[in-house]
């Protein structure tokens, strides 16, 4: 897949534009990425980037509240936004003849969002409601605790959506200050994929964004996480879940680390890449065989995200009723140790490689998916193009996978979490937990 480098242009205000042609449908997908997320927050303001993301749908002087949603709806667009620990992103996929309108909307809200006090108050309850929806999910509750325990210094431990108490304390002025600081052309980049020549797509985007002024990029937050010196454990007991759950989180390197591609590959070896359960695919994966085929679990998933700073390699299993946590944890650890000790044989490597590469092809066969994937790789610096990342995955050897497993799946760098369903716990709404879903979507 080499040769799919996007056309890149930097504007005088610092904004970098990336464009790719995709001619199979008459649409354009526009994604604006800001280098701000959970990592840029301090205790007392957790959830601020995500809150701000909601406020960017609440109007500018040129486009009053509701304008953007109704305009894009009228075009049949798909549009949304999300915040994660590293970035905040806004996107719309529109019919190609509406591309200029989409550009106008994004250029406008880069600096002109109103963030009106009454809208902050109205949206606060929406965000609390979003958080309360997550709190109904045992996987979220446990993951939030595991993440908080896994980091002692780095802001990744705070999650993204923020604590309910801090969401309630967020002020309009604080949000506006955050906006003014981070929403600037020099702290953003734009990805465009669609039905047009890349040069022409860039020209239109340059026209839309070139007059947006801004400040120099803010300093990169620095709170390096010290090495972990031994296993950490956390148990969450709640009545609000029926099945027991085990999560293991291992300290893992940042996206630019040479091990990152191999860690992505290991998620495929362990769970088929996207997790396995009642779907037909992913059932040849090691954890499906060891846990689900063995009648111990209903779903398993291994995940590794490409992040700016060292983060976590996650393994999660939902257990069948009555199965002891300790049994499942032991089997997961045995499988991880086996990966660290023995290279995959040729047959498994061939299968895993095919799963990895096909798994990249499917989302990039949609224009929206291609734009997202390129933007995601750029956000962490993992690669300059989808092809570059694809080539790194293609080149992985059995030794690469084994070495990445040996470097990552160590006792001293893991945090183990158990969710224990407990029918005797009284209702206690609103516990203070702090991990958000990885892609926290508006």
């Amino acid at each position: 897949m080499s040769g799919d480098l996007p056309l890149v242009r930097q504007l005088s205000n610092g904004l970098v534009l990336h464009a790719l042609e995709a001619r199979h449908a008459p649409v354009v997908s526009l994604w604006v990425w800001y280098h701000v997320g959970g990592r840029n927050e301090v205790p007392g303001t957790t959830g601020m980037s995500h809150f701000l993301e909601h406020m960017l749908f609440k109007g500018t002087p040129g486009h009053p509240k509701g304008d953007l949603d109704r305009l894009l709806a009228r075009y049949g667009a798909s549009w949304n936004a999300f915040t994660n620990a590293d970035v905040t992103c806004y996107f719309e996929t529109v019919p190609a003849d509406r591309y200029a309108t989409a550009l106008g909307l994004e250029a406008d809200r880069m600096r002109n969002a109103l963030i009106a006090l009454e809208e902050v108050e109205a949206e606060r309850t929406v965000i609390v409601s979003e958080r309360e929806g997550y709190e109904n999910d045992p996987s979220f509750l446990l993951g939030e605790e595991v993440q908080a325990v896994a980091f002692s210094r780095h802001t990744y431990g705070q999650g993204v959506i923020g604590s309910k108490e801090e969401i309630k304390l967020m002020t309009r002025d604080g949000l506006y200050e955050h906006y003014a600081r981070f929403y600037s052309p020099s702290n953003a980049y734009v990805v465009i994929v669609g039905d047009g020549e890349a040069e022409a797509l860039l020209d239109e985007a340059a026209t839309a964004f070139e007059d947006v002024s801004g400040d120099p990029p803010p300093p990169v937050p620095k709170a390096p996480e010290p090495p972990q010196m031994g296993e950490k454990r956390v148990v969450v007991r709640r009545a609000g879940g029926a099945l027991p759950m085990v999560q293991l989180a291992f300290r893992s390197p940042r996206a630019t680390d040479p091990l990152a591609a191999a860690l992505s590959g290991l998620t495929v070896v362990l769970s088929g890449g996207g997790g396995a359960g009642d779907g037909a695919s992913g059932r040849s994966s090691r954890l499906y065989r060891a846990l689900i085929d063995a009648g111990l679990a209903t779903e398993i998933e291994a995940s590794f995200q490409l992040m700016k700073d060292p983060y976590l390699f996650w393994v999660e299993a939902s257990l069948r009723p009555g199965v002891p946590h300790v049994d499942v944890e032991r089997i997961i650890l045995t499988e991880l140790a086996r990966l660290a000790a023995e290279p995959l044989d040729q047959s498994e490597l061939t299968r895993v490689r095919r799963q990895m590469l096909a798994g990249m092809a499917y989302p990039t066969d949609t224009i929206t998916g291609r734009a997202y994937q390129l933007g995601q790789l750029l956000s962490s610096g993992a690669a300059r193009s989808i092809g570059e990342w694809y080539d790194r995955l293609s080149a992985l050897t059995a030794d690469d996978l084994r070495e990445a497993a040996a470097a990552t799946f160590a006792e001293r760098s893991r945090t183990a979490g158990w969710f224990v369903p407990d029918d005797h716990v009284a209702s206690r709404p609103g516990t203070d937990t702090r991990r958000a879903a990885p892609g926290d979507t508006r």
Partner: protein, 416 residues
């Protein structure tokens, strides 16, 4: 514009939509083996059968079959809905032949072995157990129990009734497989990078044994009416938010009023940001993170549902506000711009769907399943555009009555 090439293999109806330049293909095989096909009182048999189809064939063990699927990197699953069991998947274009062979083997020659049924049964029981503490699942289960009488195919969720799941035998699976999976109607849609001739050749080879002749008709669903307002609140302990399901019985996809119903749904609540309910409940009042409605699409009337996630303190107001919007629609208070927006969105989405092989496959599948005609893709946008305000008001009054609905709330206790 979508162009279809169609053929028939035995009773299997096939449509291919080529999208040049893509590396993959999406495949949708809809088998007339959904909840409507289940024997009366045997809810869960369709899903148990579907899941057991994925657990080995006459010639390959479950592990060998899944290794074959993963060896080509295919992404695939088999889900049971109201009308169909849908075998959906995506594979690289060059692997289409291999993928279809695997699907055909699972569907036409499954092992349906006792040990595999037992595995699937235990997984289903675990799912039922998990759903008891899941507010969304509890709300939907409760709504179905309120809206349909026992024995109706839609009285339970597809996962089934616990007693049925515990008691289903391999003989029952074999009968369901014979009568409905291969004995009923079936539609296969392929969309993506494969050329039509290549795809049809692969289909002919993989599904050559598909039976011919007339499909076994599914039994008619029990008649059901919502003759009053029914509501049930279910406390799910140790939760923070309530899930709310409000709904009616809907109308069949082939009802001549269905297109107007789609527009009505969009005006009312289909989209959290573009429809009236979402606009008021979320954007103006901040009562919920999500509010949306879905209109079922099957050959019989299937649920027309509004769902929302709301703090228990706000349930009464959020539901009341939704009804206020509905009442305005009953009274004809529908702004021209709201109607135009709904139609523009539904028409515009047809163009945007072309960006994805899965999106194209879904559009083609609907056209094939409901025999919407050769000119459907030219006609459908015009039909959407032609819907009038009077039709929307009439549809609202006919299908979304204010005094006959079912409402289920699941979550923490509601305030007194």
């Amino acid at each position: 514009m979508i162009r279809r090439t169609r053929t028939q293999v035995g009773r299997l109806q096939v449509a291919v939509a080529e999208i040049p330049g893509l590396r993959s293909v999406a495949s949708l095989l809809a088998l007339d083996a959904g909840q409507l096909a289940e024997p009366r009182g045997r809810s869960g048999v369709a899903r148990l059968t579907a899941q057991t189809l994925l657990r080995g064939t006459e010639t390959r063990s479950a592990q060998e079959w899944s290794e074959g699927l993963d060896a080509i990197g295919a992404s695939s699953r088999l889900d049971v809905g109201g009308q169909a069991a849908l075998f959906s998947g995506q594979c690289l274009t060059g692997d289409l032949r291999a993928y279809l062979r695997l699907v055909a083997e699972a569907v036409l020659h499954p092992a349906l072995a006792a040990a595999e049924l037992e595995f699937v049964r235990q997984q289903a029981l675990a799912q039922i157990e998990e759903d008891k503490k899941d507010t969304r699942a509890v709300a939907e289960k409760t709504w179905r129990e309120l809206a349909y009488p026992p024995g109706h195919p839609f009285h339970t969720r597809a996962v089934g009734d616990e007693a049925v799941v515990r008691s289903t035998t391999t003989e029952e699976l074999r009968r369901f497989h014979s009568d409905h999976v291969v004995g009923g109607g079936a539609v296969l849609v392929i969309a993506g990078g494969a050329g039509a001739a290549t795809a049809i050749d692969a289909v002919n080879e993989a599904f050559a044994e598909w039976p011919a002749g007339r499909a076994r008709p599914a039994a008619a669903a029990l008649p059901s009416v919502l003759s009053a307002t029914v509501r049930r609140d279910v406390v799910v302990p140790d939760k923070t938010q309530c899930d709310v399901v409000l709904g009616w019985h809907g109308l069949p996809r082939n009802d001549p009023r269905y297109v107007a119903a789609r527009v009505t749904n969009m005006v009312f609540a289909a989209d959290t940001f573009a429809s009236r309910a979402g606009n008021v409940v979320r954007d103006q009042l901040g009562l919920a993170y999500y509010v949306f409605s879905t209109l079922g699409s099957t050959r019989v009337a299937s649920p027309w549902l509004v769902r929302m996630g709301v703090n228990p303190e706000n349930v009464t107001r959020a539901v009341g506000t939704t009804f206020d919007e509905l009442r305005r629609m009953h009274e004809g208070d529908i702004a021209e711009d709201d109607l135009a927006l709904a139609k523009d969105k539904l028409v515009g989405e047809l163009d945007v769907a072309l960006e994805s092989p899965g999106g194209v496959a879904q559009l083609v599948l609907e056209a094939e399943l409901f025999d919407l005609g050769d000119d459907h893709f030219e006609r459908y946008p015009r039909e959407l555009r032609a819907v009038t305000k009077d039709q929307v008001v009439e549809t609202t009054r006919s299908f979304l009555p204010l005094d006959r609905y079912a409402l289920a709330v699941a979550g923490p206790p509601l305030p007194a």
